[in-house]
Structures are given as structure tokens and as C-alpha cells.
Amino acid sequence: MATVEIRNVRKSYGPVEAIKGIDIAIRDGEFLVLLGPSGCGKSTLLRMVAGLEGITGGEIAIGGRVVNHLDPKDRDIAMVFQNYALYPHMTVFDNMAYGLKIRGIPKAEIRTRVDKAAEILELGRFLDRRPSQLSGGQRQRVAMGRAIVREPAAFLFDEPLSNLDAKLRTQMRVEIKRLQDRLGITSLYVTHDQVEAMTLADRILVMNHGVAEQIGTPLEVYQRPASLFVAGFIGSPPMNVLDGRIDDRGEAVLVPGGQRLALPQPRPTDAGRAVKLGIRPEHLAVAAAGFSIEIELVEALGADTVVYGRLPDGETLLVRMAGIPTVRERDRLTVAPQDGALHLFDAATGRRME
């Protein structure tokens, strides 16, 4: 068990800067999720922690010890890969025992540790099988087992569930969560799936183009997105974003349709400023006055319904309602944001305005 500190870490591939200075201190036993779109540098950052990529700038410390120049084997970490990366010519038992044998752990203890991991992961019946004789979910569990038996200071996961089908992914997600709660080992988990991030993380680091957009608990990231990027990336369906302007008194936001939305607190210093206004689809409700939309599409998801509406100026507005649909396409509807549901972002920088 250990902390993992990443201090102003950078990575360049030739002239291309993949990681542009990331700072995060992961607490002992914490589950940190690196979330971001494909190509934003998540794997690169994780692989630098593992020692599989060189570090161009900055420092990484595991358990208080700077590891920049240590080999992967000396960093006391274990990693789970997206494609499992099992040793195809070894049995499940040998796959899990490989790292322990190398570290010179006595045979009896290896047996105990592997058996215990196999029990936790329900792999007991498969110990003599080769990876090719297992299903995808079972292989994933072997990869987890290989990490667990090592009892490392930290777990690193690189999109471990991406190769599984949707149902299995949900199931394994719960298993990983349970496992981490039980073992309490510091974990760094890479994913592009916001649901995985929201359900697994103690804290999420949202990444974009090699930069940390926001670091916070799942609820913080959802309730107070630090930028338009985060606002758009977290939440499904995504947040509505409208162009707006704060009125001359700093008391309300004016949107192109002529709507005037009162601000919870007056912002006299921002009077007249151009802003982006964010409203989550689930925070819009039918009201007497507000946005008037023409319904273009109704998606019935069962538990709730997503309505795609068009505003008078042509913008799309998504509304999420509980339960089965009560409206139909081409209906007209008036919706208004609930109290405290407005997010204001600087129109130029996209950063949140506090």
C-alpha cells in the first residue's frame, strides 16, 4: 500500500507533446480514475507510472520513493491490460504464479496466495487450463488474479473492461469495485467510459489533450464541471450548452430566444459579459414559462425518456423526463431549468465561472 504522486509530469514523442504537465497526489488506498476521450494521453500517463514509458519531465513517486529511473519490476506495481496480456503457453496457475516464482517466494506460499486469489475470483476450477480455453471474462479475472497475488503497492488498470460485452462489463465493474474495497490497494484506472469512472472512482481525473481538466469526486465532477469539456464529457445524454449574455445589471442571463433566466446570485462584475450556459437535460422540467421547444424526437428508454427539442432559433435542447413518454413528436412543450441548475462558463476560455 502506498501513495502515488505525479508531479508536473510531461511526455513528448519527438515534437508532439502527449502529456503537458499533470499533477496529482493519489492517496493511500484511493481509487483514482483517469477519464478522457481516446488519444488524450491516459495510457501514456499510466505507462509512465508503470515504467513502460520514459518520463520526459517531472517526477513520479510511489510510496514516497521517486521511481523515474526504476525498472517496472522494481516499482512494486501490478498492471492489468486491455487485451489481458496473459502468457498463452502457461496454465492459469502458472500465469498467476510467474511473478511470485521470479521473486523467489517459497512454493507453499505461492500455492496459498494463488489459491486464495482463485477463490476470490472464482477461478478455482480453471487453474489447470490454458488462457485459450477460457472465456473473455475469465481471462480478465486471471489478469486480475495475477495482479492480486503480487500484493503490490499499487494496481494499474488500462481499460481492463473494454474488450468485454456490455453485460459482462457491468458485472466485472462491480467485481472490481468490491475487490478494491476489500483489498484497499491504491489503484489507478484508465477508461474512456464515464459510467465506469462514476461508479468506480473515489476521485476522477478528467483528461483532455494531455491536460488535467478537472480532478474531483464523481459528484463534484458531475455537479460542478470545471470546464465545458468536462460538462460535455460527463453525463448522458450530455449537457445542453447555449450561447448567452449576462444582462446589464448582472442579475440574469439572456439567451438568443429572448429568454431571461435569473441568476441565483447577482454578478454585477460580470454585467454584459458573453457566456456559455450549461443545463443538464435531467434538470429541465415542464413549466408554465421558459424555453419553448418543438419536439423532434422522443427516445423511450423505459425508466426515463429523452426528448430532442428544437428552440425557436434552431438550437437543439435535450430534456430528460422520468418514466415513459407523455409527449409525442411535433408536440410543442415549454420547459424551464430547476433551481440552481445553471452552469456558467466563460465563452472564450470554456472555464467555469464561479
Binding site: A50, G51, L52, D71, P72, K73, I77, A78, M79, F81, Q82, N83, A85, L86, Y87, P88, H89, Y98, G99, I102, R103, S132, R146, R150
Partner: protein, 294 residues
């Protein structure tokens, strides 16, 4: 899932198979049959009459003490060529597989020798190792080493082994490289995180995962060393000095074509055929068990 292809024309399947069958018949079955036929006959010096002599040719060949010497040379030669060609190719493939600058040019260069005819390759070797005109040969002599493969049997054998291996290295290299590149990078990374250094990774991960390739090349290289090195030996040493580089295949040619003993030569080629078939069978039976097919 199995797919069955059906032909409307009954003749077409046979027609499509015909070229392959014809090639096998003309270049393998027919000469093999002829060899077997001749191996139990004795021909007169002019090749006009021949007489059925049962296994006389075989007893004759096998009771010749020279034949046993040739067999010994062949074993040394074949084992050395196979080990050397595979070992060097594997080493080069491992180097080419690692991230190095100019890997492409390096790979292309390594493949070239395979495109060379054995006799041309042998001439190249001669120009390098000839004690009078070869650059390396002269250098050796200048250094005071008594290099002359035309007189020293051990040196001659070493040279044909090197020349024959060199030609096969290219072929082995391509297969080893393909085999190495088929191993997922993440598997090697997992091993290094698990604590394995480069040598251990090679021994416990790379080598076992390469075993299908290694096994295939083992069979191919043995057959190469037994049969296809005739051109190299013929051009370089003609089996000499004495009989120091005379392998079974070279002796078949020597006795049959040069000494005109068709019966004895045929008996030898039948023996050679049996040896190679037996070797291949043994390899499949015992070595293949240890092979892991992913």
C-alpha cells in the same frame, strides 16, 4: 464453421489438382521410383543390360567403411548447419525485432542471401576465403595462420558448414522475425512488470511462444542440410580434401555420375531418403509434443 465448395463440372477439381500432381510425379515420385528400381539392379558399364541383384547394392554400400565416414561427416555437417543457421537467425531476428534505427534496411539486407543461387554464393565464399586470392584467406595467412581449406580437411568442413548455414540464415530469419512480431508487446510488458529481466523473458516467454516456428525450421533445415547443400559443396570443395567434406548427397552424385555406379548410387539415395523420412518422423513424434501452438 465448415464450408463445402461444390463444383458443377466433375472434371474441374481434377483439372485444378493436375499441375500439383504432375509436378510431384515428374520431380519426386518418378525419380524416387527410378532410384528404388535401380537400387536393386546391376547395370553394365554401358547401361545397356541390367540384372536384378536383390539387395546386393545395399550390402555393398553399407559394408564400405568409407560410407560410414561419409555418414559421420554428414551428421556433423547437418547438425552444425542446422544449429548455426537457426542460432544466428534467431539472434538476428531478436535484434531486428527490438527498436533499432535502420531496422528496415537491416531486414532487407538479411533477406538477400536467400535469393542467391548456391553456386553463386559458393563463388562469393571462395573469393573471400581462397588462400591465394580471397581477401579474408590472405589476411589469415598474413597473420601467420596456416589457412588452406584445399589441404586441411577440418578447415574445409568448417567453411562449407559456414557457407551452407549462411544461405539458410535468411530463410530462418524471416520466419523467426514473423514469429517474434506475432507475440503481443503487452505480454512482454506484463512479464517485465512481473519481474522478469531480458534473459528470463526470452527463455520463459519468447522462446516457448516461438516453438512452432522453431520446430518447423528444424525440420526444414535438416532436410536442407541433407539434400540441398550439394551445390555449395560441389562449388567449394568437391567433397575434398580427401573425403573431408563428402556428405551423403555429395557421394550419391560422386558414385553415380562420376564413377558411373548407378546401382550403388541409387541404393545410397534410397538410404538417404529413408534417413530423412525417419528423422522427420522422429521430430514430429518427439519434438512436436513440446511445441505450444497458441
Amino acid at each position: 464453421m465448415q464450408r463445402r465448395v461444390t463444383f458443377d463440372n466433375r472434371l474441374l477439381p481434377y483439372l485444378l489438382l493436375a499441375p500439383q500432381v504432375a509436378v510431384t510425379l515428374v520431380f519426386f515420385i518418378w525419380p524416387a521410383a527410378q532410384a528404388i528400381w535401380q537400387s536393386v539392379h546391376l547395370q553394365d558399364a554401358f547401361g545397356i543390360r541390367s540384372e536384378f541383384v536383390w539387395f546386393e547394392n545395399f550390402t555393398h554400400v553399407l559394408s564400405d567403411p568409407n560410407y560410414l565416414d561419409t555418414l559421420k561427416v554428414t551428421v556433423v555437417f547437418s547438425v552444425a548447419v542446422t544449429v548455426l543457421a537457426m542460432g544466428v537467425a534467431l539472434l538476428l531476428a531478436v535484434l531486428a525485432d527490438s527498436k533499432i534505427k535502420g531496422a528496415r534496411a537491416y531486414k532487407t539486407l538479411l533477406i538477400w542471401p536467400y535469393a542467391l543461387a548456391p553456386a553463386v554464393a559458393a563463388v562469393l565464399w571462395m573469393f573471400i576465403f581462397n588462400p591465394d586470392i580471397g581477401s579474408f584467406g590472405r589476411a589469415l595467412r598474413a597473420l601467420g595462420y596456416d589457412w588452406d581449406y584445399r589441404l586441411n580437411g577440418g578447415q574445409a568442413l568448417a567453411m562449407v558448414i559456414m557457407a551452407a548455414s549462411w544461405k539458410q540464415v535468411s530463410y530462418n530469419f524471416i520466419f523467426f522475425l514473423a514469429g517474434l512480431q506475432a507475440i503481443p508487446r503487452s505480454v512482454m510488458e506484463a512479464a517485465s512488470i512481473d519481474g522478469a529481466g531480458p534473459v528470463r523473458r526470452f527463455l520463459t516467454i519468447t522462446f516457448p511462444l516461438l516453438s512452432p516456428t522453431t520446430f518447423f525450421l528444424l525440420v526444414v533445415d535438416m532436410v536442407y542440410a541433407f539434400f540441398e547443400t550439394f551445390g555449395t559443396i560441389h562449388a567449394l570443395t568437391q567433397g575434398g580434401p580427401g573425403k573431408a567434406t563428402e556428405t551423403l548427397i555429395f557421394r550419391v552424385y560422386q558414385d553415380g555420375v562420376v564413377n558411373n555406379d548407378l546401382g550403388g548410387s541409387s541404393a545410397q539415395s534410397v538410404i538417404l531418403m529413408v534417413i530423412v523420412i525417419a528423422l522427420t518422423a522422429v521430430q514430429f513424434r518427439f519434438v512436436e509434443r513440446k511445441v505450444h501452438y497458441a
